[in-house]
């Protein structure tokens, strides 16, 4: 399993519920792959218009600002493309419409690996995170089987089967990616998400000292003593 993370896939599709989610949970792996030559495409399923502690925020404006933050973070990590699918934040469901949208995307991008939330993570309170993981599983099946959404094939998108699903922030990690070489860039990318909070602090309101303390805390969390490097944990599911 770990070998899969050490290889460099040709094409990678990351599916995240909101802006920031992929960078925080898998930014090291995605950045490492992009640096090594993978074409990394990120799809953000929702418009990210709700997850804020601020009251009476203009949701359309928040959504636009967050798209800009995600683009800046993606530039740092080397993502080739970012797609915003625009489903309403907080209201994602496992219905046919989002499943078709993701199956469509899998057939367009033709990824070797799909990276997403672990829907079986216990005590994950945010429903969009669980739902995104389930949708990714459902859409992988629909993308690889020709009788699912036949209209996609009629439109010139034949079935496509990724080699693996890689779940980030997993319930049961079974593989660790060495992200030592890209950790600084991952943290730079995370800090682009200024309208998001991390560890109870709004990133855009941190002063230099606060940024330094947060970076140190995140570095320590990524450090693995037995491997003597910085890691991200995943659950790799070969398909």
């Amino acid at each position: 399993m770990a070998e899969l993370l050490a290889d460099t896939p040709e094409r990678v599709l990351a599916l995240a519920a909101h802006t920031k989610d992929a960078d925080v949970n898998a930014g090291g792996l995605l950045g490492q792959w992009a640096t090594s030559g993978s074409r990394v495409v990120l799809a953000v399923l929702t418009d990210s218009s709700r997850g804020t502690t601020r009251v009476a925020q203009d949701r359309a404006e928040l959504s636009l600002r967050r798209a800009g933050e995600q683009r800046a973070a993606g530039d740092i990590l080397g993502y080739a493309e970012i797609r915003f699918l625009g489903f309403t934040d907080g209201e994602l469901d496992t219905s046919e419409r989002p499943r078709r949208a993701i199956a469509n995307l899998i057939r367009i991008v033709r990824p070797d690996v799909v990276v997403t939330h672990d829907p079986w993570k216990a005590y994950e309170l945010i429903a969009d995170h669980r739902t995104t993981g389930l949708l990714a599983c459902d859409a992988v099946v629909a993308a690889r089987d020709p009788l699912f959404f036949p209209e996609l094939e009629a439109a010139g998108l034949p079935p496509w089967r990724p080699r693996a699903l890689v779940f980030f922030a997993p319930e049961e990690p079974n593989a660790w990616a060495d992200v030592g070489a890209v950790l600084d860039r991952k943290l730079d990318a995370v800090l682009c998400h200024r309208t998001h909070s991390l560890k109870g602090q709004l990133l855009g309101e941190l002063d230099d000292q606060g940024v330094g303390a947060l970076r140190a805390e995140l570095q320590a969390e990524h450090h693995d003593e037995s491997l003597a490097t910085y890691v991200e944990g995943f659950h790799v599911h070969a398909l």
Binding site: S49, R50, T52, V55, R59, G90, E91, A122, Y123, L125
Partner: protein, 242 residues
Amino acid sequence: MTEKDGSRVVAIGAHPDDVDFRVGGSLARWAAAGAEVIVIVVSDGDRGSWTPVAPNALAIERLQEQAAGARTLGAARVIPLHRSDGAIYDTAGLSQELCLWYRLLRPTTVVTHDPWRRYNLHPDHRAVGWAACNAVVAARNANFHPEQLDRLRRWGPRQVLLFLPLRVNHVVDVSEYIERKVDAVLCHRSQLAGWASRADPGAADQAEAVRGRILQVAADAAAGESFRYGEAFHRLASKGTG
């Protein structure tokens, strides 16, 4: 939890009896310590019988039983949401309704079914767990259901306690309240025969069979603790309202 005056507990169960059976000792303990305890019962329990019955009659009987059980525990109110037993779905509507109740009642603690528990066969238990957790995320964020906020404010409980949990990380000492719990459970007379037959088939005294089962479960939950009887939870510390 902080058991001081002013704390408020909202316990949400799928059916009349779920809350009394699973967390009755904790509710009695918190009520005795001065907390305001409110029970939300999502369905009327109108299918909770092994023999054909008139659903309306059973629903009325079971809501009366729940009222008696809650009184026994010292709960201040029972709020029935009148969903149909066996037909509770984790819909946006149910979560929106619970979100409204959180914003109205402003609980410091929310208690409900653990939806992450595996092999949890009863769909109502899973549906209520999901909807109650989703409503916590919604209630604390002003961008969810803003139409509710004309007269109310967003609200986040300090903690969510999930019963029958996938993973236990919190056990409440209910040693002093275990008989109160038994009394509350025994208020659910329509359910007694079924419980007794599962606890001890052929028991002469149904109430005693149910009491024995409750004491055994509570003793198991307290294994390794410094007290005799407990109730087990997974505790999620939640973001406050700021």
